[in-house]
Point group: C2
Chain length 423, copies 2
């Protein structure tokens, strides 16, 4: 289950070996049809996985294969087992959100490949948002995705033994969890050679972060929550780079970080990435003020996602009260459960605020950054956008009670965005 | 890993087959020596396991073997796998508290037997306390046991992957966990044919419990915490019937309920059982008032256990700060960690109060009772003792903030004990 995990016949696919791979699988051949005139392209962004698009007259597929190391850092080995976790996650959740993930055609445990539908005309959502494209179905879709994936794998829906069995399938996804534990909850708060930030502009803020004891305690508490609270089967990396969108469709991809953890970790990841996009918008304007309306749309999106998530989650709870958590035999008084739902959702919200704060800081001061900020060419402008957003990320961790509901979060974002900061 | 788990060669041992069993194991034979003149006694209290004492000229051993069902309810199947969890728990914790558990000589995965040292002149602590025997080393011993077992398997000491690996060994102990989930957190709060209580005296209180929505919400939150918070490798059943004592020695036994859960569950189990013993004392008096001084001793014991536990736990944290939870690279300011220790221990304490409350209610209104109360022959007297104690157990669950520290808990116990109640 570790880096040492390497099936005997594993080897990285190449454009030249794909045809042979397809010929060897009846399942995939069935989808592709005749392989004589197929087109093959390697399209991976090259960090963790090989990704091939294969197009035949009949169909288009996507083959994803993990590499046994981080491509950008070849000395960083990374278990191939992660494709198992990814396909397991998709299998489990396809019971409820099949239409919000790509269809899986095949998982090959030897080559560790996942063969799935090629999404078209979808693009990575992050790219769309950077170009100020609005996705009017997104709040609806992603709130459904989060409500269903989180509810249906929780103690609210499952029997205790079913949940423990699901948990056991992911509990040894230690290496991917460790990436989160280090890169999100630890490294940005200290010196680490892999950290980077917009320098020299943010040097002072980086130092302040390293010296802020309250912040380091806050992020460590979040880390402990991440490591010890098995609430639901999480995606584990639910940012706008793990979501593909077309005008009317939403597909969540790349759940290789899947594990049982606190629900707020998934919700927070999404909120953080939308907030970062909001704060990055000024840096993408060609004419000052042209993104004003899009920025309003993004904040409204955040608001809608939370409200819809909250409602849908409670509706699922009303509809399927069969879990061992609040056994229905104890609660024939529906009002009591209604009251408890408020409390439960407030706890998810509070966790989401904290985790979102941590997700923001790691993308501005840690190893892996977002193109939302990175594609802002002007250093000074990027620093201003990042600095405001980081101020929010710090506050969300050390003073979560300031953001008691989603409107207070949005107000705080507007206020910080209006600050006049110069470097 | 379920009830279906039954090794091919499993069969219950009998006095007549023990000699053969010993002859087949070099390890055990080595301990026992010549088997010609051994004495064999079956001494199990008969609920879950067979227990044999074997005495030779050279040595005395105890052989514990699980039965595939609860003896008192033959239609209640129970996995034999529990002996694996028990021996795993003892192996893991013997790194730190070997002297506070019996020595294990052998675990036989086919017969599911655990062969260990026969403790002598130890008795079950509950019996001693019912007879008003004081154990002056107990606070010292049990606080060490809890501090070490809980600290050394937590995120404060372990690397994240080490902890996940340990957790994975116990996560499928679902059947024993289910006993806890049902018998402690659910059944006592509703009608269940296995519930019993001192009737008719406590009929009214039982009804009140079933109709107390705040209490049912409180116990369900505790249940969810039990099912989803993987803080440390718990004993899972740490009551005074799972502890053997001599005048100066303490041994913890029977960790078959072991699993990764919230630390407060173990601490709370102990506190609850000591509180129940306190409230039962009036019922064991032959002359009114004769147990007054012992009752003071018990309350002082509770106080000492918590204070010592708190100190020892923090000292371990100071001494071994190598866990991934609060990484030492982030915290060179020791004062910050000191402050965080207070917060962390307060959280364990709060959890302990809640879990102790739930443990009290299950022993007075659920399926399995304590002999502390059950051996009070006079129904009315027993009902008075139980009623007062149950009032505390309810309050600890719904108003835990009333018991902000261990002295407030003790004051509350004294106050309730002085209430004049009659039936």
């Amino acid at each position: 289950m570790s880096s040492n995990f390497k099936p005997k016949n594993y080897q990285p696919l190449e454009v030249s070996t794909i045809k042979n791979f397809i010929e060897n699988s009846d399942k995939i051949k069935n989808i592709i049809g005749d392989t004589k005139e197929i087109e093959i392209k390697e399209v991976g962004d090259g960090n963790l996985n090989l990704v091939f698009f294969v197009e035949s007259k009949k169909n288009s597929i996507c083959i994803k294969q993990p590499l046994p190391y981080l491509r950008v850092l070849k000395d960083w080995p990374l278990t191939l087992k992660r494709s198992y976790y990814e396909s397991e996650y998709m299998n489990i959740h396809s019971n409820h959100v099949a239409d919000l993930m790509p269809k899986i055609y095949d998982f090959d445990p030897e080559l560790c490949t996942i063969t799935m539908e090629k999404l078209s005309p979808h693009i990575i959502m992050r790219h769309g948002l950077i170009n100020a494209t609005k996705y009017e179905n997104f709040a609806e879709d992603i709130s459904t995705f989060m409500a269903k994936t989180l509810f249906f794998t929780s103690d609210l829906y499952l029997k205790a033994d079913q949940k423990k069995e699901l948990n056991s399938r992911f509990i040894m996804n230690t290496e991917l969890c460790k990436i989160t534990e280090d890169l999100i909850f630890t490294d940005p708060y200290m010196y680490n050679k892999n950290n980077r930030w917009t320098t020299p502009h943010l040097d002072k803020q980086k130092k302040e972060i390293e010296n802020n004891d309250d912040l380091k305690i806050a992020v460590s508490r979040l880390k402990i929550k991440f490591m010890s609270e098995s609430q639901s089967l999480l995606h584990g990396d639910l940012h706008t780079g793990s979501i593909m969108v077309s005008e009317n469709d939403t597909k969540v991809i790349d759940p290789e970080f899947a594990f049982y953890g606190p629900m707020g970790f998934d919700v927070g990841a999404l909120l953080a990435n939308l907030l970062m996009n909001f704060f990055s918008q000024n840096g993408h304007e060609k004419n000052s003020g042209e993104r004003k309306e899009f920025k309003k749309w993004i904040l409204n999106l955040i608001n809608m996602i939370w409200i819809k998530f909250e409602n849908k989650f409670c509706n699922l709870w009303d509809e399927y009260p069969e879990g061992d958590g609040y056994p229905r035999q104890l609660f024939n008084n529906k009002q009591i459960i209604k009251r408890e739902q408020k409390n439960y959702l407030q706890n998810i919200y509070n966790d989401s605020i904290g985790f979102a704060g941590a997700k923001i800081i790691r993308r501005i001061f840690g190893f892996a950054h977002n193109i939302d900020f990175d594609w802002i060419k002007d250093d000074k402008m990027r620093a201003i956008c990042e600095n405001k957003c980081a101020n929010l990320g710090i506050e969300m961790q050390i003073n979560p009670s300031k953001f008691k509901d989603i409107s207070s979060l949005i107000e705080a974002a507007i206020k910080l965005d209006n600050d006049s900061i110069s470097f």
